[in-house]
């Protein structure tokens, strides 16, 4: 497989290496996935006789904290990539570790919110409002979990590649970072739409 061009280096006319091109296309498909579900949300809401106000049904402070947590994780994600670019492996480990901690914190807070609803006997089938709330946030949480798995791999066993092939390792981190920023961005849309509007 070493014969495939542009695996590590950028192609001049596109300015991208293969994996970076690939992840952008993947994110485009993700935009369509979440776009479809946001459209479903709009259609449900427009067609509903009564639609609960998010701020009265959901825990806005917890949602706001989660927003801050995720934005912080995006910043540390970027810093960990910058650290690799500056050849500072120690700082990379620290920053990526912080990113993983933020992601775990997000999941903890999310599960507190979920279990609060479940303990009140509120499940997705309650009404279409809760159905779309649980579906959208659940799918987003699945994306976070997927991200955590990859981040942990790059922090732990995957980091060995830094010694053998630092350029590809930095590329990997960049690609995962792009995905992570996207997951963050989805939440930045989800929070106002579900919690505030």
């Amino acid at each position: 497989m070493d014969t495939i061009p542009y695996t590590f280096e950028e192609r001049e006319d596109t300015g991208l290496y293969n994996a970076k091109f690939g992840i952008w296309l993947f994110l485009a498909s993700e935009v369509m996935l979440f776009g479809a579900l946001f459209s479903a949300y709009i259609l449900m809401r427009v067609g509903a006789v009564y639609w609960p106000v998010g701020s009265e049904t959901l825990n806005v402070p917890l949602g706001a904290i989660n927003t801050v947590v995720l934005i912080t994780s995006s910043v540390t994600m970027l810093l960990s990539w910058a650290a690799l670019k500056q050849n500072n492996f120690g700082k990379f480990r620290l920053m990526l570790g912080l990113t993983i901690l933020c992601a775990l914190a997000f999941m903890c807070i999310k599960s507190v919110e979920y279990s609060a609803k479940f303990s009140h006997g509120i499940f997705p089938k309650e009404n279409t409002y809760y159905a779309i709330y649980f579906t959208l946030t659940g799918l987003h949480a699945l994306h976070i979990v997927g991200g955590i798995i990859v981040l942990v791999y790059l922090w732990g066993p995957g980091a060995k590649m830094w010694k053998t092939n630092p350029i590809q390792f930095t590329n990997r981190l960049e690609v995962v970072g792009l995905y992570w920023h996207f997951v963050d961005l989805v939440w930045i849309f989800l929070f106002p739409v579900l919690y505030l509007l």
């Binding site: 498909s29 369509m32 479809a36 479903a40 449900m44 997705p124 089938k125 159905a131 579906t135």
Partner: protein
């Protein structure tokens, strides 16, 4: 280049291979098997339509295959539930497991890297994952036949609320679809990145073979149109398993009973919008690769450049964009309103223009050519009028007022089968005959090829043309007795028998192909050069069959894809990698 690769064990070379050519062939053979299987389901249905209430004339051992005597075929007579199961799975298998994997998975994988001079796809391991996701998705679909209540039986469109309250085969169908969607996602990312990143030096976009363009646009459609179906599938899974009410409206009564476990408040139209947002671009996913194959073969066998290559390229790009804003022409009679209908009617009429430009350009390409009528060319030529009938019969369906009469009749079935069966599938056959020598080093037999082509052409028309007539007479496509119970079905009921015999003879007509395919693989006539068709594109500059890594020397492209019969040249073809005209 091939020497630098160590010898791989059998399972790594042929089963879990990362070589795009092996994966392409895996895709191709799996898809052909699924096509045959899906066709088999239809042959069973055709018995019921031609001879309703009569027992299937199959030996007992075969009847036993369909499970307990009373659940599907009591006394050999087909129950409506079984008929619905066959119908839903025929559509699903033909589209998602047959034609698309063959057109994109097999031909896209095998031919695209060769035509752009690449050593492999950009992501070989993702490519392997894509095939195995497809394989698992297919197995899940097949497995669902063995569930209590059978496989999905709500049509390939899976319209709610029926699909939400259907038997558990539907849940398995949704999970199977999720696998297939992921598979096509990985595949389409791979093809797009490969085309953009791995083109060799000198191969500019306007020098790409039209087939590569078709695959590029197709991959963009798969990339962007499939995720909304995944979203819709997630919602339907939620409805079925968590009893949410995305697609269950308030006050829905089923057999006079209210559904107590559902809160209501959902919208059945939501599914239709999300589904057709995928499924209309999907129509172009089914047809564009076929057009690409046909363009290659026509240029090669008319021995002259394609007429209007650039306008074909611009048309295919425009077609790709437009295909995202025509989906609701499948929904004129849902009551979504005349204003919306008018919009989608206008876009539908507009989208027919680029298709007609491509078809016209291909027709004009024949002008003044010295045409070679070999088997691939026969299939490719036939694609044009067959696809033409399919396309033109689509216009009355795209106009809201005529669609009111034709919607959900056999006319619709006739229309889209003309597009896909004698259209795309013929193009795919053409592609198999055309690239077979590159993959195996042997040509397929011409006589058996003719024996395959002529019965297929005749039977296809015997099957699908009467359907247009039935549909105009108003026969609904959903009747499991083929219209005998209908007052206005009486006059055209006899046509059902003709259609059914056409379908069974079509099956017999495929036998020469199957024999040809396997016989030629081992005993076909060996090709004398790497370029047996005297073609210009890069895939014929590799050794035959191409080794791992494809090309033995660095490729550079100096000219357009179809420089046939260049004035002053000694040969009637000048390959793209030829620096000077000889």
């Amino acid at each position: 280049m091939s020497d630098s690769h160590p010898k791989l064990p059998f399972w790594k070379k042929y089963i879990f291979s990362t070589d795009h050519k092996v994966i392409g062939i895996q895709y191709g053979i799996t898809a052909l098997v699924f096509l045959l299987f899906g066709f088999g389901l239809m042959m069973l249905m055709r018995w019921q339509l031609a001879y309703p209430e009569q027992p299937l004339p199959l030996p007992d051992i075969l009847l036993k295959l369909f499970g307990d005597d009373h659940t599907r075929l009591p006394g050999g007579i087909m129950l409506p539930e079984f008929y619905n199961e066959l119908g839903a799975m025929h559509g699903t298998i033909m589209i998602f497991l047959g034609v698309v994997p063959l057109a994109v998975g097999a031909f896209g994988n095998f031919v695209v890297p060769l035509q752009i001079g690449a050593p492999d796809m950009a992501f070989p391991r993702l490519n392997m994952a894509s095939y195995w996701l497809y394989f698992v998705g297919g197995c899940i679909m097949l497995f669902s036949f063995f569930l209590p209540g059978g496989a999905a039986n709500s049509g390939w469109t899976a319209y709610p609320p029926l699909s939400v309250i259907a038997t558990q085969g539907q849940t398995v169908w949704l999970f199977g679809m999720a696998f297939l969607i992921q598979s096509s996602l990985l595949g389409s990312i791979n093809i797009i990145v490969t085309i953009f990143q791995l083109r060799v030096k000198g191969l500019t976009f306007m020098r790409l073979p039209f087939f590569v363009w078709a695959q590029l646009i197709t991959s963009f459609l798969l990339l962007l149109a499939f995720p909304p179906l995944l979203g819709a599938a997630v919602l339907q899974i939620m409805d079925r398993l968590a009893h949410t009410s995305f697609f269950i409206p308030s006050g829905l009564l089923v057999s006079g009973q209210e559904l107590v476990e559902y809160s209501g408040g959902g919208s059945v139209l939501l599914w239709q919008h999300l589904f057709w947002f995928l499924a209309h671009p999907e129509v172009y996913v089914l047809t564009l690769p076929g057009m690409g194959i046909v363009a290659e073969i026509i240029a090669n066998n008319t021995r002259k450049p394609l007429w209007g290559y650039k306008s074909m390229v611009y048309s295919v790009i425009f077609l790709g964009f437009m295909s995202f804003i025509v989906w609701a022409h499948h929904m004129y009679i849902t009551g979504m309103g005349t204003a919306i209908s008018s919009f989608f009617q206008a876009t539908t009429m507009i989208i027919s223009i680029p298709s007609i430009i491509i078809l016209t350009a291909l027709f004009i390409s024949f002008w003044g050519g010295s045409i070679r009528f070999n088997t691939p060319m026969l299939f490719a030529i036939t694609f044009l009028p067959m696809f033409g009938i399919g396309g033109l019969t689509g216009l009355p369906l795209g106009i809201a007022i005529t669609d009111v009469h034709l919607h959900d009749t056999y006319y619709v079935i006739g229309h889209f089968h003309y597009v896909v069966a004698p259209g795309t599938i013929f193009a795919l056959f053409a592609g198999i005959y055309f690239w077979f020598p590159k993959a195996t080093g042997r040509k397929m037999n011409e006589f058996l090829g003719h024996l395959h082509f002529w019965p297929s052409l005749i039977c296809m028309n015997i099957i699908f043309f009467p359907m247009l007539v039935q549909g105009l007479a108003g026969v609904s496509r959903r009747l499991y007795d083929g219209g005998i119970g209908y007052e206005h079905g009486q006059e055209i009921f006899a046509l059902n028998e003709l259609i059914s015999w056409g379908a069974w003879f079509l099956a017999i007509g495929q036998i020469p192909f199957i024999i040809n395919f396997f016989w030629s693989m081992f005993a076909g006539k060996k090709v004398e050069s790497d370029n047996p068709w005297n073609a210009t594109t890069l895939e014929w500059q590799t050794p035959t069959p191409p080794p791992h890594g494809n090309f033995t020397k660095e490729m550079v492209v100096y000219r357009g894809p179809y420089e046939y019969s260049v004035p002053g040249a000694k040969d009637d073809f000048t390959p793209q990698s030829e620096e000077h005209i000889r």
